[in-house]
Symmetry: C2
Subunit: 399 residues, 2 copies
DNA sequence: GATCATTTGTCTATCTTGGCAACAAAATGG
DNA sequence: CCATTTTGTTGCCAAGATAGACAAATGATC
């Protein structure tokens, strides 16, 4: 409970955090701009910026571009190396690892395809460590590691990085956080694991299509469907971090049986399997099969276009439910529907409007992901960086 | 944005607010208990309590019961008259008005039945004013009015109390906040209107079955269905306050046509109409018809029991969707299903567990409303009181 | 290019707020 | 009645933000 008794040191923490967050999210700013934004006194800003510089989190270089008479104000900007996160995404078909610093600076990134079904937890952890090693080694000398953030495609408990299950990875009860912590060692800092849709939402909110939009839903579709929810500027995780499992929402009692055991789940109508089935693809899963459908769409294949339109319709139905329930400003489509956006847009919007009430349906925008496959990596970085931003003076103290 | 620059006065506000909220929600406390809870120094607590007393919001009387040696600590408690809200609930069949003070103290309450369909906005506003007048007049002299809180059964914009529409009241585009403000005059303070399910959730969270439980869903069923969501201790309102319209979630594409124009909405399967249809009631709506079904249930009528079990099944289906999406600790059933709880419980739980994923489904509790029909009134009171609690020193300043 | 107005950084005194320590007060228990 | 314990009160201190005076750096003007 930070919300109980507050003392003067809490003021400091809050103001340092506000400044650092501002610089982290919106880039450089002159001291006088910081005064205007925070409403704090020049003297106070001066002191705070100096403190952040002493913490190696911020640098001042150059002065503001002249906009009239007056003494120029020094420009403060984040020092990306001041806190660097090893961000990883464990997806069904792929693995990605990146080193991302303050300000969202990507130092380096590697992606690998993972043959579906061959990614046991142990094998995956080994591979992540193997990819992360060289990235960490290649960081400039003045970088401070701030932790490991992992986006995992599964139902994940945030408190300890435990993956309850992931039907699409074929995992069950995996202590992923502990395993990665052991594999990577203590020196990289704490390991934080979260659901990939939640982190996609966070990534798009902080650095993507949802920047500055405090109520948004990120819909992540790879094999299954997950939703990441940002409500009032805060990630909505639920009581134990399991919120956002939208893929198993009932939309069609006469539909297919889902992997989860129930019938008519949303993802049976709009997931990868549904797409391939509708488009009469020879395969029932896999990246290559999806690529083939995308190719047919680009070529104007009538069967594929009809199939995608039907998928778009069901997509919109589920989105309508979400819009009714959550009244977001924005829905960001990630993964599959980011690629298929042009083809699904019309039927999806029509179905969404049909299934949701004015005025909520009238105010919502729907856009494809701006960060694409990197949304989750940026979200994973934010997950760790937010700890430092929340209390810049205590970095590197509690581990 | 209160979250930007923080200064010393913000500390004061925060600490005053913390103390007042503690006393408001959890009743009296000795000064030494307040020290323990907040972690603040004795001197500071002394100063803060004296300030709250000077603001007429708190009184000290008596001393703590002796639990050993040591000087007894004076007991601080909220002064209910320090801030009194006129709380109103505009339901489909009824109207309720109450005067509720700090600490949730109900000074007086009146309820009236409203014949369905005869409650035009103007007539309703007139009636609310007519009921409120005597309640206000009968308040003790030392009471300070803190505003009017209204729970309305409809899609409501919080910022200005505009009711977009309410199918069950038959309203459309009603500036309810303004109308009530005019009818009641300036002296009662600001008028705040919100959705009845949202306020039911708030009421149960602050003073009912969900006390202390930071992630809960309140399902309000009268004629339609609405959900009120408390997430992380904060009411989840969405971008414009329209969140929680769960009644129009698609659950059955082969179902009935809903008043909203779409097919297969949740409330077509579990609302009052569905209940009466399933139980083969001679009427299709109305309190009396529902009462008759409840009577048959109590008498063990087989047809009614089967009907309610089927309704319970669909209730659980929708709840499963909500549990997947929001991962609550608790679901509170209000309205119709509070009365029918014993009869729907088993099929509802079974369906909910079927339709939602472990571990989210395993951790959720489902209970009937603890406040019953008063939940919305208490929520409406909290709506206004929370302004004063957030900044006790500025009460009565901004209007 | 010198001068002035303007803006901003810096420094110091001051204000607000909470903490601390010493002391007083009020209870229990022998 | 006195020792012990707990808590309220009071005066002083520390942390942090502010205000005002002054200096520095720039553009505009002559």
């Amino acid at each position: 409970m930070t919300s109980l008794g507050a003392r003067a040191s809490g003021l400091r923490r809050h103001n340092l955090s506000t400044l650092l967050e501002r610089l982290h999210l919106r880039g450089s700013a002159s001291r006088s701009e910081l005064c205007a934004v925070t409403g704090l006194n020049r003297s106070t800003i001066s002191d705070l910026v100096q403190r952040l510089i002493a913490l190696d989190l911020v640098i001042e270089d150059g002065v503001s571009a002249s906009t009239g008479p007056g003494r120029p104000s020094p420009i403060a900007r984040v020092r990306p190396g001041g806190a660097v996160v090893v961000a990883a995404e464990i997806a069904v078909d792929s693995l990605a690892v990146a080193t991302i610093g303050l300000g969202g600076k990507v130092f380096a990134q590697v992606n690998t395809e993972m043959p579906r079904g061959e990614s046991s937890p142990a094998e995956t952890v080994r591979k992540v460590a193997e990819l992360a090693g060289p990235l960490i080694a290649s960081l400039p000398d003045d970088c401070t590691l701030a932790g490991v953030g992992v986006a995992a495609a599964g139902v994940t408990r945030r408190s300890d990085g435990f993956v309850h299950f992931s039907p699409n990875l074929g995992w069950k009860d995996v202590p992923l956080g502990d395993m990665l912590g052991e594999a990577l060692g203590e020196s990289v800092g704490p390991v934080m694991v979260a659901n990939e849709a939640d982190l996609g939402a966070l990534g798009e909110y902080r650095r993507g299509a949802g920047f500055g939009i405090d109520n948004l839903i990120f819909i992540s579709t790879e094999v299954g469907i997950g939703a990441g929810l940002i409500i009032g500027g805060t990630p909505m995780l639920g009581a134990a971090g399991y919120a956002g499992e939208a893929g198993h929402m009932l939309v069609n009692p006469n539909g297919q049986r889902c992997q989860c055991g129930a019938v008519g789940c949303w993802e049976t109508e709009v997931g990868e399997t549904a797409l391939l089935r509708a488009a009469r693809s020879p395969q029932t899963s896999g990246l290559a099969a999806v690529d083939a459908v995308v190719g047919r769409l680009a070529a104007g294949d009538e069967e594929a276009l009809t199939a995608v339109a039907r998928i778009g319709d069901w997509l919109g139905v589920g989105m309508g439910n979400l819009v009714n329930l959550l009244n977001p400003d924005l829905v960001v489509l990630g993964g599959l529907f980011s690629r298929l956006h042009d083809y699904v847009r019309e039927p999806m919007l029509a179905a969404m409007r049909d299934r949701s009430l004015e005025p909520a349906s009238g105010m919502v925008s729907v856009v494809p992901s701006a960060l694409g496959p990197s949304a989750q990596l940026h979200g994973a970085a934010e997950l760790c960086l937010s700890r430092i931003i929340a209390d810049p003076a205590h970095r590197a103290v509690d581990y």
